[in-house]
Symmetry: C2
């Protein structure tokens, strides 16, 4: 990298910025920079402005905390979705994963993280209060918790479950067990053990 900044500080600066991207080291960043250097100027301007426009204009939906280009997000404003069922997710990334399954037609609530005292994330840093307010308004029938099965995920789920107990709604969690297509031999003991303990009626 020293040799690079000797040659061109402009290139070295661009490489340094590109190497901030997750999973990208100095070699890949140089490859990206040289690729961009070879592109027509208007393509590089479009590249830069798409990223800046995204960062400047995307906001969070005041209802569900999902990202949105409009005042209210496209899922909350979609009249064809069941607005009485809320799926609780950690992040937009998880929301997209669930959307991609095509199996869910309710609305969402994006927490923006999980409770983690070690990382300094307390309940007040997450959009838990707005979830409780949505439920308080009375139109919600079910909250499905789709959180990770980590210590943080379980802690968060339990904390939120206790907040939701006072209301007359169903609180559920996504099914846990051996994945479809998974080989029992290679399934971890915890998952396999729990999937036997929580066995369900055979329903062919």
């Amino acid at each position: 990298m020293n040799r690079l900044s000797n040659t061109s500080q402009l290139l070295a600066a661009a490489v340094e910025e590109l190497s901030m991207l997750p999973g990208i080291g100095a070699k890949s960043a140089l490859r990206f920079a040289l690729f961009l250097l070879d592109q027509p100027l208007e393509n590089v301007e479009r590249f830069g402005s798409a990223i800046l426009k995204m960062r400047r204009e995307i906001t969070n939906c005041p209802i569900c905390n999902n990202i949105t280009d409009t005042p209210i997000c496209s899922i909350c404003t979609d009249g064809k979705r069941d607005s009485t069922t809320i799926c609780l997710v950690e992040s937009f990334r998880d929301l997209i994963s669930i959307e991609n399954t095509g199996e869910y037609n309710g609305v969402y609530h994006v927490l923006g993280g999980l409770i983690s005292p070690m990382d300094g994330v307390s309940p007040s840093n997450l959009s838990i209060q707005t979830l409780v307010e949505r439920v308080e308004k009375g139109d919600i029938k079910e909250v499905i918790m789709a959180l990770s099965t980590t210590i943080e995920g379980e802690t968060t789920a339990f904390f939120i479950y206790r907040k939701l107990i006072p209301f007359d709604i169903k609180v559920s969690t996504i099914a846990r067990g051996v994945g479809f297509g998974d080989n029992l031999e290679y399934t971890d003991q915890l998952t396999l053990g729990r999937s036997i303990a929580r066995r369900q009626p055979f329903n062919p």
Copy 2:
């Protein structure tokens, strides 16, 4: 991706631009976009402007065709380098590879490609004429050809060799053979065969 553009066209546009980067598919591009979305605005602005500044302000050195921030590149203006020896490379990328070895103290000439009729690259598309003009001026003692051992590389080397014959200079090529640390068993037949044919005196 359809689900994504339903949710946020701004995000989808940024992901589309990021997926143009070499070796980056839709999944990695989404990861980059969400990472950038989470960064402070000033970091994203610095990211974008470093790339645009690089693309707008880097030019090619009129002497050696290397990329440069200044009118003449830092290698051509470096008085401590041997300006009578030119190392001929295909690209800036190859120049950096040679610089990183720390073994070379001459100057360079960047061709900007290799002759390839299949890809529509003819000698006139490369900076061959400016190389001949540098040699014509009379201060050059040696041209080292550091080109790939592909058909295009060999063709280009031969074409340039014939252009340089009229001048009283040494024309050399980088050594070819079995790499240091390479296992003979896994060396390709062509390299191994030629390294026997071109054997050199043992010089411990």
